[in-house]
């Protein structure tokens, strides 16, 4: 599916940048692993979906965005985006655990992280539901004549929902500055791509609407970063939508409650995908190019693991909400009728 790894080449980034990218990906991975741990401990409940395996997509794309200016929106697999955009990881972790220090004071949970200060628009549970909403965020940018670019991530499964096509049409019709970034990880829950999509090259779906569309490799952070920079600038410059299908892979179950991966993919397939692990790949590239030693990278791993440990401890120290908070925020200006 994804393009084969390129032959070793001069790395386009400075050693500092490479280390920074590596560190970001490793941080996401440890963060998500800790979330899995917390889920198994019963500290996170409900539905929880990790970004493990997909780190290069988020990290590479985020590099192209202007922090605090550009907009990002995604579905329920939503821990990584805010973490990359400058959100407070303690507040993200606390939200997944339903604590008062979370971004939504425990009302949203893992699937519903929002950080408007950093222009992360969430965090949505209904497959396809956020795509018109993301399009609306781009609409505002155009309306206000602000050169903000909106990145709207969606899954390969979500790409089939009717509102997605409606959104493509209106975004193209009205020249909205939005990037539909389809994260094609080849599965919609337990359904393989070829069982849910009549044509599995999802990027082609932008073409009938006159949207510039392409497919890129999402397992190579350097490639994603380069492609994203080009695409984001094109959208900012031309004030039109863009569709990019990013080929990646999730290494874990659909969510923490999915323990039946063998129902939709084989061990061999997973092992093959592990060879494309974006973190391992960057590590190899860096070591080969002499940008870092294995020891340097191990040190980063340890540091990030420790950092996540501290975040977890702090989040876990945050109290559960008080029952009286249940009526807060239903309205901006009133309280609904109370009581059973």
């Amino acid at each position: 599916m994804a393009k084969a790894a390129k032959a070793p080449k001069e790395l386009s980034e400075t050693p500092e940048k490479l280390i920074d990218l590596y560190r970001q990906m490793v941080f996401i991975r440890f963060f998500e692993k800790k979330c899995n741990f917390a889920y198994r401990q019963g500290k996170i409940g409900g539905y929880m979906h990790t970004y493990i395996g997909m780190e290069a997509t988020g990290v590479g794309f985020n590099e192209a965005l202007r922090p605090g200016w550009d907009n990002v929106i995604t579905a329920y697999r939503d821990h990584a985006q805010p973490l990359l955009m400058g959100s407070d990881p303690l507040k993200v972790m606390a939200e997944t655990m339903g604590r008062v220090d979370g971004y939504s004071n425990g009302k949203g949970g893992s699937m519903h992280i929002y950080d408007f200060e950093n222009r992360f628009f969430g965090g949505w549970g209904i497959v396809g539901g956020h795509i018109p909403i993301g399009t609306g965020v781009a609409f505002t940018a155009k309306y206000k004549k602000e050169d903000r670019v909106t990145v709207c991530y969606l899954g390969d499964g979500a790409a089939n929902q009717g509102v997605v096509f409606e959104s493509y049409n209106m975004a193209a019709l009205w020249d909205l500055p939005i990037i539909y970034a389809i994260e094609n990880n080849e599965f919609a829950m337990g359904t393989r791509l070829e069982y849910h999509a009549s044509d599995t090259e999802l990027y082609k779906r932008g073409i009938p609407f006159g949207i510039k569309s392409e497919r890129i490799d999402g397992m190579d952070v350097l490639q994603v970063k380069e492609d994203a920079a080009r695409i984001v600038e094109w959208v900012r410059e031309n004030q039109k939508p863009y569709l990019v299908e990013i080929m990646n892979y999730r290494y874990e179950g659909h969510g923490a409650a999915d323990n039946d991966r063998q129902l939709y993919r084989t061990k061999e397939e997973e092992e093959e995908a592990m060879l494309r692990d974006p973190i391992g790949r960057l590590a190899r590239q860096m070591v080969d190019a002499g940008a870092a030693t294995e020891a340097d990278l191990e040190k980063i791993d340890d540091e990030e693991e420790e950092r996540v440990e501290v975040i977890f401890e702090q989040a876990d120290a945050s109290p559960h909400p008080d029952p009286s908070e249940v009526y807060d925020h239903v309205y901006t200006d009133m309280t609904p009728e109370m009581g059973h």
């Binding site: 409900g46 209904i126 029952p323 009728e337």
Partner: protein, 325 residues
Amino acid sequence: MGVELTYRDAVAKAIVDEMNRDDSVYIMGEDIGRYQGTFRVTQGMFDDYGPKRVIDTPITEAGFTGIAIGSAMSGLRPIVEMMTMSFSILALDQILNHAAKVHYMTGGQASVPMVIRGPGGAAKQLSAQHSHSLEGWFAHCPGLKVVAPSTPECAYGLFKTSVRDDNPVIFTENPGLYTVKGELPDDDDFTVPIGKARIAREGTDMSLVCYSRMVHVCLEAAERLAEQGISAEVVDVRSLLPLDMETISASVAKTNRAVVVYEDWKFGGFGGEIASRIGEECFDDLDAPVLRVGGLNVPTPYSRVLELECIPSADSVLAAVERLS
């Protein structure tokens, strides 16, 4: 004596029995085939019936529900699984604006014999977008039938009737019920008619009127009330539309008091319909105002502490009963 089954297996058995009985019955939905169903209701069916009759759909609720409706209008009897009933909101136009209108708009020329089923109501910490109780919303719409069984036996019997019914039937399964066990009668022809309530526990001092998982909440409340010397009757409505007022009224005539218990938002919910019908039809029998116990009027929060505040429990029923006397 019959076999003991979980609620999940009772629904599954009813699906299979109906598929065996009638070739025109098929089931479609997300992840129901190769993945065996998110709540495992359709486990094994893909292997047994193949992709023609156990159909994995893309995540396009409006589209596949519409396809099911079209196929029902033209000779088939589809069962549509909503992975959760919250996702039926995406198909609401097809259900309310199309399926429910067909028989009437066509002057009786066409009908829509289909069942839309799936887990409805709050599970555990699934948050605001995945926890809706929509049965009352559907029951607001003429042209649909709506059932909400609480036991494996009722689920099995009502499901078979729903498939055989020539109208669109909404069949809601509270996710908290799937592991509830119960016995099925030893009779392969056993069915439960749509529109018949049942007395889940007899009592004399008050009627707790409820459906779906709230039946179990009310049974627990009745047990605790019994310890206080209060005898509560539990009326399991089972079918919201049509509603069996006869059974409900007979119970209230005996007990002279009623509390209606439902998981949906209290304000404007289906329990309000039952309460006002009791008020209209049993006025002379009532010794106290009819009370409602419903879900808190807030989007379901993620935090377990807050979520538990929202869903009616035996404690909330007891608190209401206190207000009765």
